[in-house]
Subunit: 270 residues, 2 copies
Amino acid sequence: MATIERPVHELAGLRPHDLRGAIRAGQWRRPTAGLAPGFTQANLAIVPRELAYDFLLFCQRNPKPCPLLEVFDAGDPESREFAPGADIRTDVPRYRVYRYGILTDEVDDITAYWRDDLVSFLLGCSFTFEHPLMDAGIRMRHIDLDVNVPMFTTNRTCKPAGVFHGPMVVSMRPIPQDQVVRAVQITSRFPAVHGAPVHVGDPLVLGIAAIEQPNFGDAVPVKPGEVPVFWACGVTPQAVMMQAKPELAITHAPGYMFLTDRRESELAVL
Amino acid sequence: MATIERPVHELAGLRPHDLRGAIRAGQWRRPTAGLAPGFTQANLAIVPRELAYDFLLFCQRNPKPCPLLEVFDAGDPESREFAPGADIRTDVPRYRVYRYGILTDEVDDITAYWRDDLVSFLLGCSFTFEHPLMDAGIRMRHIDLDVNVPMFTTNRTCKPAGVFHGPMVVSMRPIPQDQVVRAVQITSRFPAVHGAPVHVGDPLVLGIAAIEQPNFGDAVPVKPGEVPVFWACGVTPQAVMMQAKPELAITHAPGYMFLTDRRESELAVL
């Protein structure tokens, strides 16, 4: 699209509805971190109806890495629950298209790929609980360093469902020892965006031999007096999906999330 | 089955695993309330694979009335998550068999009905959160009166999914005014068994004109100084399923639940 992108400061104050409009108009083709603070950002996964039952079952059986926010009707491109009026084919700033598990295209509009049998899944993203953590004075090392959060493939196996199976992927955040309990409490309130940590402390328990060599994202240092804390990660369903090599699968590009109208506080269980 | 039933006092102290053995052996053909305190009891719904996607989607879209605990693989009769080793065809004390939405049989063994395409769903039961409520000194009127909890069809519509649609059914418990906040807090910890109330106070808000005339279960009095508190109810998925008139559906008989090995405390989110 030949539209001129708008600068950050023009979009910073916009609500999700208007941000999606700007994205649709080609005025924003960058990662969405920091946009629409307080609102839920979602992972996107689209598969043919033929695979949708297995994928839905996989998410039901693995709610920590795959917390479902919304499942669209087959062929329906509108997010009726989390962003009424939004068109999932145009309202994400960057998509990835996979054929038989191979990345074949990275595009900013998937209208040309759309079919009546495609089912869209929105899954919770841990960007959502980073806000409440920072509000509580718990700093996010990867944000301070302006890098991506480090992610690791673990020795924990997801519960399989039909064609989908694979290991759980986790994200890691170093937390000062005296803030670990608070971090557990705060994220426990948000099961819809991965919830409480899956592990606190020794990376070897998860089969992670080198904390300085993440499988995805960027390395961040764990300083003396800090504890590595691990949360189930939304990369899990993407990795599992690619391993199943579906004839067609479409996802958002990492960091280029779908912006919903749902406030993160609405997702809190308590 | 011609086996002699065992008296209550013999079973009262048994763990779920042994209780299921007694049920399988025909030694218990009564409701399960009061058995295996501290362990999760589950609603059961079984449908052909052809309908399983729509039903799974319906549960995903309506987690308050339809909190999924476990979905079995098609044709698999074993509860691999909540009660490893249990056979769902023999381990429930009474089943109901429906053909095209009509109750055709009430049996204590569904082996003869079993097919390779049947998918079993376990759903949370509010029996589970009544224990923590009573532990906090909040009395359950229907238990004090030894009657079934009163249930009402409401004016709230569930989100439809495929062939499944219908109103939300709620259960009602009268709570003294000074215990309402605590009741909300306690049940909020258990989203897997219906979670927080859907409404506190005036029944008319839910379209309930006569609190003394429940649609299911038994009437209980709401005394001066008490507030009627309403929770989403597991009768919802059964009512919705019957309305869709599937060629075959099997459920537990009301009150005759599936006893799982999972402690209720394991289901608490915080």
